[in-house]
């Protein structure tokens, strides 16, 4: 079996296996898996509206996935995407609602504010790692909590004691009547193009630039990089800053596209944490992140239809979705299995 065939077969078999095990769970719990999967399918691809909403859901996942993948390529594990995304969300909502500017300035400025806020949130763990060798996993986890409560406090402060920020001005909005009409008045917005542009930016930085060469080199072997005269600490900080900026932009998707403001949060959004899985599913490559984000985004959004259309409780739905993702993530097992099979055939 050639490598190419294996590469295509692995994700397909993984998804099928996930669906089968998910079906067993539904059967055992007394629900109809066929109806369940039809509902899931319709939830994702059923009509133009569903497709629009699915794509809308994918955008922040792409950016969160890119953030994790980018740091990972430099040998850093950025668990703080969640926090970076939240401060980005707030920054975009604040700039979008506070200032009155022409769109050509306002929208880029709001996006930039989100990226800058995320970058700042990434800078702190980067600095601590570079100067005091504090492990970035610990710092980024803690920064998530700090972000959550800081953002809540800021929402309260800017809204004069309220629980949500003002709606952003249309000049800062990513909303698009055109895309909305195209998808039967879904909330699909231009954010997906921002996300895809960032995929290209990531690819460009990593594969084409001197900075990317250094970042990857430090990620693979910091000793050899230092020998070659690279500034390892600078690269660690830079990597966290760029990673944080992507995460911040992920927040901007929610602020400037989906919601138009930010509401006091009782807990994490989950997008940042799912970003870790998205990046790993995509093998930390920019293109792979699109695949991982599409899987996550469509399953997450499509699953919303399962309780309504097939009467399957949300809890079971969560398990089924988790199983599908689990099997995709276990692609390695399937790869090994396929290779064994091929070997046996050869032996005969």
């Amino acid at each position: 079996m050639s490598n190419k065939v294996v590469n295509i077969l692995v994700p397909i078999i993984s998804i099928i296996l996930g669906l089968i095990v998910g079906a067993i769970v539904m059967l055992v719990s007394g629900y109809d898996p066929v109806a369940g999967y039809i509902a899931l399918w319709n939830g994702i691809f059923g009509d133009a509206y569903a497709v629009g909403e699915t794509i809308r859901q994918i955008s922040p996942y792409i950016l969160a996935g890119l953030a994790v993948a980018f740091a990972f390529r430099t040998g850093l594990f950025n668990i703080g995407v969640e926090g970076q995304l939240m401060v980005g969300w707030f920054a975009a909502a604040y700039v979008g609602s506070t200032f009155e500017l022409p769109m050509i300035i306002h929208l880029p400025l709001s996006l930039l504010a989100a990226a800058a806020a995320g970058a700042l949130w990434g800078l702190i763990p980067g600095l601590l790692k570079a100067t005091f060798r504090v492990h970035e996993v610990i710092v980024t986890i803690m920064m998530n909590y700090i972000a959550l409560h800081t953002v809540n406090a800021l929402i309260k402060a800017v809204s004069g004691g309220g629980y949500k920020t003002e709606k952003i001005h249309p000049t800062a909005s990513l909303r698009s009547d055109f895309l909305s009409q195209l998808t039967d008045f879904s909330t699909l917005h231009y954010g997906i193009f921002v996300a895809l542009a960032m995929v290209i930016v990531t690819w460009f930085i990593l594969e084409k630039t001197k900075t990317g060469f250094e970042l990857k080199s430090v990620g693979f072997n910091d000793h050899a990089s230092q020998y070659a005269g690279m500034n390892v600490n600078k690269n660690i900080i830079l990597s966290m800053v760029i990673s944080g900026a992507f995460a911040g932009l992920g927040g901007a998707m929610e602020a400037l596209g989906t919601f138009g403001n930010m509401t006091n949060r009782g807990g994490f959004t989950g997008i940042g944490f799912d970003g870790i899985a998205v990046a790993l599913l995509g093998a930390n490559s920019p293109l792979g992140v699109i695949f991982g984000a599409s899987l996550f985004g469509s399953l997450k959004y499509g699953a919303n239809n399962m309780p309504n259309a097939a009467n399957i409780p949300l809890e079971i739905v969560s398990i089924v979705i988790a199983l599908i993702i689990f099997f995709v993530a276990s692609g390695y097992i399937i790869r090994v299995g396929l290779q064994r099979l091929a070997k046996k055939k050869e032996a005969k």
């Binding site: 084409k208 630039t209 001197k210 900075t211 990317g212 060469f213 250094e214 990857k216 080199s217 693979f220 072997n221 000793h223 050899a224 990089s225 230092q226 020998y227 070659a228 005269g229 690279m230």
Partner: protein, 522 residues
């Protein structure tokens, strides 16, 4: 004569590539049987077949005359085959005993019975003269000691046949002597040994018979006492090899490296280089001879800017570079072949091409305005591959996939191509076969003849004697003497390295505190 192991007509194929092609190896009871071949000749593949990691396509294996099917390493263990790996498989922060029992922990009422295990370890250690402390932590003991732990591990599991994979690659000369004694003791106790190596002297010293393989093919088996290193080298490489590196006289000119009263401390803050003075001129090779741990690493790291200088000065071509950043030093004309090529010399997960540009990627023509030019880098890599005979599938192959010798050629190509005024070569031939060693020595001499200064650091006395024009002997952080190879002997060098001065008086009172610095020599 009884054979304990027979590997008959073994063939192992990877894709279209024959790693082993019809190789036969027969191990007699109680002999040390050397397996000789260049890097990449297929020695490790053959041993991995014996150890059950690979299944051969053709051929059969017999243990004590009985045909066996070694489907995995556990089967090999049960058959009494144990392997002492080149890269030790030890957990650094566990103790010797814990490492030995790892995977088959003896239990007593549900808890691991360390005490009994440690007792058994101590017994075996005593029987074979291994002198290992069962409770010592791996990270605290020397490399030679760690290797003994590996040997103990196989003995503890009842191995009768021991495979040693390049056992001397990372040992000091003294440790090598001790290892040879241990191997002889093992034989005296009835074990049989397969010794994988490409060091001819070792084979002459310890083995009874030698099986030679070349490019995957079995060349034959010879009796050690009936052969000599020249014949073995010819069998291994397939052509005549010169041992004595040929070179004309040196014509040293102006000073390139000048080190004055250099003091450098190690990570623990202990002075490792203690007021060292050294000068290297263009057109000469200066060898640095010394026992490992006498300040060599710290000296190189200080010269290349990787370690802070406590006091003293270092200058290149008359320009003071003390305390400068590595890149500034590189740019002032220093090339460096680092001691540890995996850790410092290469980014193993980068391609050969990327690695070829590791020192120069940041300037024209390799990159411009922050954008890399991978076309130029590929072309540059191809030049190095061609010129330095790096055997690789191409510049896109990962450096990890190259054999040690070819990785080293890549590094040397990269550094030499930059045309540095001073080339520092730290243990440049460690772990390489005679063919590659010959190649590297020629390149170093070529640099010298082009009027460059070459600084060669080596633990191998014959390398220092062969290649250098002058030999500086380092002991306890100081150059205690400088000798000319033609006017000295290995014995004299050995004495100097151990701290005895040629003149019968102690020139420096600092030598009297020598003992403190020696605490790491076990």
């Amino acid at each position: 004569m009884e054979y304990v192991i027979e590997m008959l007509n073994i063939s192992k194929q990877f894709g279209n590539f024959f790693a082993n092609d019809d190789i036969t190896l027969q191990l007699r009871q109680g002999e040390i049987h050397a397996l000789l071949g260049e890097n990449g000749a297929g020695k490790s593949t053959l041993m991995n077949v014996l150890f059950g990691l690979y299944q051969p396509e053709k051929g059969e294996i017999r243990v004590k005359g009985k045909k066996v099917n070694i489907s995995n390493p556990n089967v090999a263990n049960e058959l009494g085959i144990g392997m002492v790996h080149q890269h030790f498989m030890l957990v650094e922060n566990l103790t010797v005993t814990e490492n030995i029992i790892l995977g088959s922990e003896p239990t007593k009422m549900g808890t691991v019975n360390i005490k009994d295990a440690a007792k058994k370890v101590a017994e075996i250690s005593k029987l074979y003269g291994l002198n290992v402390d069962p409770y010592a932590k791996i990270e605290d003991i020397s490399v030679g000691m760690q290797q003994r732990v590996e040997i103990l591990k196989t003995l503890y599991r009842g191995a009768e046949i021991l495979i040693f994979d390049e056992p001397t690659a990372s040992l000091t000369p003294q440790e090598i002597d001790e290892l040879i004694a241990i191997m002889k003791k093992l034989i005296a106790e009835g074990k049989s040994i397969i010794l994988i190596t490409h060091k001819l002297q070792e084979i002459m010293d310890v083995s009874d018979r030698v099986t030679v393989i070349r490019k995957g093919k079995g060349i034959g088996t010879v009796i050690t006492s009936e052969t000599d290193p020249e014949e073995l080298a010819t069998l291994m490489v397939g052509r005549q090899v010169t041992f004595k590196t040929e070179k004309g006289p040196a014509y040293p000119k102006e000073e390139v490296l000048h080190v004055e009263n250099l003091v450098v401390v190690d990570n623990r803050g202990i002075e490792k280089v203690k007021g060292l003075n050294l000068t290297i001129r263009s057109g000469e090779i200066v060898g640095l001879a010394g026992i490992d741990g006498n300040g060599q690493s710290e000296l190189i790291e200080a010269i290349t800017g990787l370690r802070k200088v406590k006091s003293g000065t270092i200058s290149i071509n008359g320009k003071d570079i003390t305390g400068k950043k590595p890149r500034a030093i590189t740019e002032s004309g220093v090339g460096h072949i680092p001691q540890d090529r995996h850790k410092h010399g290469l980014v193993l997960d980068f391609s050969v091409g990327y690695n070829s540009a590791l020192q120069e990627y940041y300037h024209m023509p390799y990159s411009k305005n922050g954008i890399m030019n991978y076309k130029v880098i590929s072309a540059h890599a191809k030049e190095i591959i061609e010129e330095f005979d790096v055997r690789t599938q191409g510049e896109h192959e990962l450096a990890r996939a190259l054999s040690g010798g070819n990785q080293q050629k890549l590094i040397i190509g990269r550094e030499v191509k930059r045309d540095p005024d001073l080339l520092i070569a730290a243990l440049p031939t460690r772990g390489l076969d005679v063919g590659a060693i010959e190649f590297i020595h020629k390149r170093l001499i070529e640099q010298r003849d082009k009027g460059k200064a070459v600084f060669l650091i080596s633990f191998e006395l014959d390398e220092v004697m062969n290649v250098s024009d002058r030999i500086a002997v380092i002991h306890d952080g100081q150059i205690i003497d400088t000798v000319t190879p033609s006017e000295t002997s290995e014995q004299e060098l050995g004495l100097l390295m151990a701290g005895h001065s040629r003149e019968k008086f102690v020139t420096d009172e600092k030598n009297s505190v020598m003992k403190e610095g020696d605490d790491n020599v076990q």
